[in-house]
Symmetry: C2
Subunit: 372 residues, 2 copies
């Protein structure tokens, strides 16, 4: 099997932001392009909750990445110019240490014994990758969704770590609607009898709970208007007679079922719980005595691009506007675009026509500004 | 115990809209005010999914009703003028026959053996109440939420049944977002082991599933902005240390838990499933060969009031605007208000300051138009 991942051992013990530590932990990442001799062309991408570090294809791993349309030679994040890194979040299950990894103290998976994980830890693991490569200052730090929060955490923890940032469909902190929704998602996993308080066996995973949680998540990853146009009130091809059962008659239900299956079959339930909770916990203002502008001012970003969509339910557009204002108040030059994508929170994964041009333009400007 | 309910036996057998029939069924209703000698002052209220017929207090039952602020002497729906009826939906569990009622064929509760229930059946049961009282034409037909769909069903089934209609936070058909959400709610009940395919015992109800379904529903009954203002990111007073568990740390989570408990402790799970599915099924256009205007034109409504709120996620404002346009196209004089209530879909139950005045004004106009 081809694999483009690199693995960096983290300092051991690796102290976590909310207490506790990990021994012998590592972080997985992939990279594209070449680091310039001056090490001034690095772009670090943090991911949303579910993707791996495989953001784009490469010679080592030619399978399409989760942001294939965005990263590559001649693309918006142009790997002929930039040395692009993507890190699998600490706590995830695609090569980085997380609740599914063996606890060296017992030899068995951590599961719920994993220490409380926060996005500051995800950020710090990413920082270790930069340090290992001798990158002192990123040209750009990129984060969509949860990745945007991890990026903000990195900026707060390591002032000066980046010249610029591209923050997409994200926020300085989740609001109660997003918190309530994620709480219900986690509850669905916890309530699955197969979850067994984290004691599930690999041959008896809590798949129904994971499937349910993902379906619920998809209510806020896409948009009601997209579904109205795509599905309307059409019945599912596979539906039994509508009168025969209580769920599954409409096409939108079949769509959710199919889309969610892909996720729940390959994501570890405990990793999901930890990363979901970390998303609720994150609050940039905690790094500034209640004021989100302070850590941003300390971060000394020169410029930032903030993107959001009017159809995002999870992190509504108002939150990206707020983030842009916070960045401006912190002295950063900000470009903010409210994109009219139909696909809601996940539009950055789908609507490349709208998302690629502002990212390309921003990075072109950045490229020109780098003195060589 | 005081009880203001009347019970009307339905014709037996009572044929249902999608097939099947009920034997010995009945419908519960309450009423306020006095029917005029000309029987021209009747107002019929259909309810949302969860309430009983007890919309307002009375001498017989002085406990506050679910629309206490709206119905009563001198109130917006003024019981000194109008003879007001409120029907417990067929299929519910507050006196009308539903899946929790004994099946006369077996003597045991119908549960999932109840025939497929649609809102046309809810409407028809309401119609029987009117017939039993000799009411040929309602002065006004009132329906919020699911009750609005039941009202539309009644108009489609019995053209001429009402001079006017007040339709609140409702739609001519659910869109896929609402369908997906309700499907997940029903799935939560079905997946509760205690549900036991409808074989739950009264001492072992599927409460966790019902509680979960209600919490999920509340995500769309209120609004993200209301929660942002009410709860922000405050921690729950009762929360364990946040690191100790995966859910329940934030105040919004505690709020959902507490609010949902009231519902799940008194609503029968099967009644919930049937009424929820009926809400997905309803489509006014089915009564007009695909065109929702046709049944409305046949209905010969003279005037209508359509109310909605900009914060409604379940039946977004656009759907009330569409309904108002359909009514206009059908030749009806329509007053439409987009109210800026914070409380979303449920605002009609809470934001009386905004909802009462347009209802009062509409009914005042109607009162003046009645020739005496």
């Amino acid at each position: 099997m081809t694999d483009a991942r690199h693995f960096l051992p983290l300092p051991s013990p690796f102290a976590l932001h909310r207490g506790g530590y990990l021994s012998g932990a590592r972080v997985a990442f992939e990279c594209w392009g070449r680091l310039s001799p001056g090490r001034d062309n690095a772009v670090l991408v943090f991911t949303g909750l579910s993707p791996s570090a495989h953001a784009a294809s490469s010679e080592q791993d030619p399978s399409p990445g989760w942001w294939e349309a965005m990263i590559g030679p001649g693309k918006a994040i142009d790997t002929e110019r930039w040395f692009v890194l993507c890190v699998n979040s600490l706590g995830s299950c695609f090569g980085s240490t997380g609740p599914a990894s063996p606890d060296p103290a017992t030899g068995r998976p951590y599961r719920l014994g994993f220490p409380p994980l926060s996005l500051e830890d995800v950020a710090e693991a990413g920082f270790q990758v930069l340090r290992s490569l001798g990158i002192e200052r990123l040209a750009a730090l990129v984060g969509p969704s949860m990745g945007g929060m991890s990026a903000l955490a990195l900026l707060a923890l390591h002032p000066g770590v980046a010249r610029s940032a591209i923050l997409i469909s994200t926020a300085t902190a989740a609001r109660p609607f997003a918190i309530a929704l994620r709480s219900l998602q986690r509850q669905a996993v916890l309530a699955d009898p197969a979850f067994a308080d984290g004691g599930y066996r690999s041959e008896d995973l809590p798949l129904p709970g994971m499937l349910y949680a993902r379906k619920l998540g998809m209510l806020t990853y896409r948009s009601p208007e997209e579904w109205r146009q795509r599905f309307g009130r059409r019945r599912a091809a596979s539906a039994l007679s509508g009168d025969a059962r209580m769920v599954g008659e409409f096409e939108v239900e079949a769509y959710l079922e199919n889309r969610a299956a892909a996720f729940s079959n390959h994501f570890d339930p405990c990793c999901y719980l930890y990363l979901s909770r970390a998303s609720d916990w994150f609050e940039l203002a905690e790094h500034g005595a209640g004021d989100p502008v302070r850590p941003l001012a300390r971060a000394r970003l020169e410029r930032a691009l903030v993107l959001g969509t009017s159809t995002d339910i999870l992190y509504p557009l108002e939150q990206q506007r707020e983030l842009a204002e916070n960045l401006r108040a912190a002295g950063c030059e900000v470009v903010f675009h409210a994109l009219p994508s139909l696909q809601g929170h996940d539009a950055f994964l789908i609507d490349h026509e709208r998302f690629a041009p502002p990212i390309a333009e921003f990075l072109n400007g950045l490229w020109r500004s780098i003195d060589r």
